[in-house]
Symmetry: C2
Subunit: 648 residues, 2 copies
Amino acid sequence: MTDRKEFRDLADPADARDAIASLDLAPDPEEVPLAEARGRVLADRIDAQLDVPGFDRASMDGYAVRARDTFGADETDPATLDLAGTVHAGEEPDVAVGEGEAVEISTGAVMPPGADGVVMVERTDESEEGEAVAVRTAVAPGDNVMLAGADVAAGERALGPGTRLTAREIGLLSALGVESVPVRGKPTVGIVSTGDELVRPGEEVDSAAGQIYDVNSYTVAAAVEEAGGEPKLYPHAGDDYDEMEAILREAAAECDLVLSSGSTSASAVDVIYRVIEERGELLLHGVAVKPGKPMLVGRVGDSAYVGLPGYPVSALTIFRTFVAPAIRRAAGVPEPATATVEARMAAEERYGEGRMRMMPVGLTETGEPRSASNTSGGAASGDLLAYVVDKGSGATTSLVEADGVVEVPADTAYLAEGETVEVQLFSPDVRPPTVLGVGEDDPALARLLDAVERPRYLSVGSREGLRRLRDGVPDFAVTSGEPADSASDRGVDATELASYRREWGLVVPSGNPEDIAGLADLVDRDLRFVNRGSDSGLRTSLGNALADLADERGATRHDLVESIDGFELAAKAHESPARKVAAGRTDAGLGLRATAEKLGLGFVPVDTETVRVLANPDRESKPGVRDLDAALDERLDAVLGDLPGFDR
Amino acid sequence: MTDRKEFRDLADPADARDAIASLDLAPDPEEVPLAEARGRVLADRIDAQLDVPGFDRASMDGYAVRARDTFGADETDPATLDLAGTVHAGEEPDVAVGEGEAVEISTGAVMPPGADGVVMVERTDESEEGEAVAVRTAVAPGDNVMLAGADVAAGERALGPGTRLTAREIGLLSALGVESVPVRGKPTVGIVSTGDELVRPGEEVDSAAGQIYDVNSYTVAAAVEEAGGEPKLYPHAGDDYDEMEAILREAAAECDLVLSSGSTSASAVDVIYRVIEERGELLLHGVAVKPGKPMLVGRVGDSAYVGLPGYPVSALTIFRTFVAPAIRRAAGVPEPATATVEARMAAEERYGEGRMRMMPVGLTETGEPRSASNTSGGAASGDLLAYVVDKGSGATTSLVEADGVVEVPADTAYLAEGETVEVQLFSPDVRPPTVLGVGEDDPALARLLDAVERPRYLSVGSREGLRRLRDGVPDFAVTSGEPADSASDRGVDATELASYRREWGLVVPSGNPEDIAGLADLVDRDLRFVNRGSDSGLRTSLGNALADLADERGATRHDLVESIDGFELAAKAHESPARKVAAGRTDAGLGLRATAEKLGLGFVPVDTETVRVLANPDRESKPGVRDLDAALDERLDAVLGDLPGFDR
């Protein structure tokens, strides 16, 4: 680590963009069949090689005539012409139209020789014997005929280079009979992930050996596709110089751009750094942007190289900001039209690190009428609030909790609550959730949300959920606990949409081998216990039950808590303690009867508590909230009936 | 035709939407590998099946310790701990941390047994012998450790049904180790094209037999893909009942929806109508919408069926309005965010047909600052003008000249010039052209446009081009003719960006077999001639040359014109007369020396004329116009040098 050359001055983000723009990612054009050309970008101009239509074509059902034979004809004085034959669409005419003659013709059929106009069938009467037709109108030469080349003439410029092929262009190319088209190549983007600990999804992960699934490779690969590139995953490179060098060189030889998504290990970064210095060219190391300070830009062999940061949200943010535009440019794909939306900051955000910040935010609609600046286009159907997520935790859940990024200039001291910011969406497919909920982790609620389109629910616990509801960002909060813990008692203005009860207690191994009878055993015996976090309503219920037990014993709650081995071991989700029981890592865990039965474990009941679904009063008319309300009305009983220990 | 039951009352468009919505297009869900899941829509809720991380994980490089051993340590009074070993990321710890001990640990590594916190390396000093480490700070239990499940806990709701999978969701699913995911099936959409005259692109078309390329099948197939469906093309069905029935039944058995894109032949419609009546159910025949009045909605077997109109723009319009939403719903794909933009009508459009009109329009940006209602999102970078295209011509070129559709209610009498309308784009990929030109068809200009991004050029001829420039819609016009025909003389305010000369004359077969010496031969001899259209500047030049000849002879221009066989035979594009010469269908055609040489034909020079590129003075600062101007500056000489008979 000591001999690594440091770029002491972090590069300006604009210089990083320039450095990436200076790398040539554009592959050679290729020829693709028309049926596979949708979404591709024309590499060359296409001139029409034939006339459309290729022949003088009847544009009405009727009779092909010599126009001069109809001069003077009208309803009262029809011209009578001899019927010389018939031409259908798709047939070569086997008759000609002589003076005083007519030929029956279908729309789309070839005009027979001699004819220069078509009388529509509605203005004619065929004789009963079918030997003559009375024409009750005059036509001019060219009437109801589309001349050869009138739609597209051979030699005309049809489509220019750089045209993106949508259904419309495919249609025009079909008319020209084009079988395949020259299109811009998709840049091939090699993705090298580093770190011995990474395992591909679908393979077995050995947690005891510190293995984790490779998140960045798949996230970045999907983002490369979204930008119009062709991702190619390379096997995990460890921290070994020779192995890493071999993989980077192979990727560089096969790809237009190589990305490595950060290893968490500093030594792997060192190895990459050395490979680039020795086998390529380092343009830039370190950019004054948060996240992404350790970003590398350079060349390996003939390929461009960019090193992305390690945290998934950081990697995606840096990719989107710096790399995706270069891939789109190389592929000839335009910037997505709705890549940005305007939003108001949900809360003040202080910032003072002196470098540009790419701040990940989640979005939620207030449901209020849209402001004038937001009436057209964009993903918003209401005024948008942006709230900051992933304050550096590196959590993968932030990937789906953040909708986009706000670029905060280096000289910003803070963003005020309500301040308008421009949010760069992670992809144009991103839509803000229809409804945003926060609070207690509860299995009945999780099932109910399946009936709501595009909800977002953040399991932050009852206490934190109520706090956020009071601050006005979410649409609803879910709490659990006793009636005395209700929202109104905590000064939160909320509308109760529904409430139900759930039975809680101690989840123990199947058959209850330690013969645990209740909370007293946790206090009095040498048992390992796993609790929930302090924001969880379930933990508050446990605390209250322990307080009651303390009262009975004339002790303090603190005394009892101190005697429980693992009371401070807070597990994240409602099933987590039970799963630790199932894994044999603890004797008992705080949990629900429903969880114990689901996981085939034993259960020692302690009490029931009330779960409340509380709406933000300002959002009751928001469609997502109404959908949730309807789902509660229609499905809650069925959901509770399915979950042991749940009822009204 | 006589026994076809007529639905006398055309259905309301809303009823047509309801009828299509009543058809069940949703296929069964399917399981796809994660690497192919991007863009798909989850069919079921995904709960986490494991903890992320799966183990207590160091989140810093440093030393794993028992936190209580560091209590009280600070810079002046470090705690010295014995080094018990090392744990790297991806390794199972082979040491435990006892009292007074520390273990060197890498970011991402498994916390060794006994340790409950990590001291970051920057706050430590390892002894020279590597046997002990001095810790210059106190840590609390959990410091710099991410507990197992802290990111995602097993049992937590990760993603709900209906979630569209973008890079972000792919990332979360990777973290969960998911190999494949249950997604909504893509509705299979069978496309049956009717009409014996249709030929697939890439095959040989026999124009003499009235064959044309099948446009609608490929256009609709691409539009089906854009909407999230899986198109399937069926062989062309003729107008034969048995063949059509067999194909429709096969498609119905294999697809969720069958579309037939209109045959121009009325008898084919009759056959489809009968098959639906006999083998399925007809829900609706005829909708009060222009285009699309003959639209059919029903069922064939277990499949839904919709019959689209025959003209390509009409088929795409009806598909987009009525069918695409149903396909998206079945696929679970959200409405595209930028499917609509606001625009102002470029000219008054009268309408009074008493049924809703889906009016195809082209878009152009005025380059003026955007109005307040247009500042966010949307495809526009300036105020948009909408001009009506395809007034029922059925031309395939309208496909690329129209950007979208304005829904005009049935009770509308007219849309005023400048009136704001909402344009439904044909697809979210549609972008208005950067620059819109109109006027003379010219090969030098066609090449120059290759250097401009996304231009649109309508070859309407010099005269019509000037008229449109005067009306203020296009950004530039191109004229050809003599200086006396210049724009200012016609009362058009325009800025000349460039001018050049092109040599014109008579294009004759190679070797000039008829030994044509000039225009006099056309007048005096029995030769067949093909002219350009009356809006063409080239034709005006020809007229002027004939007037000069008439003067010499003391005749009138009219006399001379009357003596030329084919003077009124107007071919569309600048190469068209020459191509008729090449095909042996005429003895001479009006054209350019450049065209004659390109096609290997003979050329009888008559004169040169001036081509002018004239900008709309209000648009000179528009980026697309500036790009054109730059292309003229930089490339015109090279382009003229490549084209015989062209110079300044």
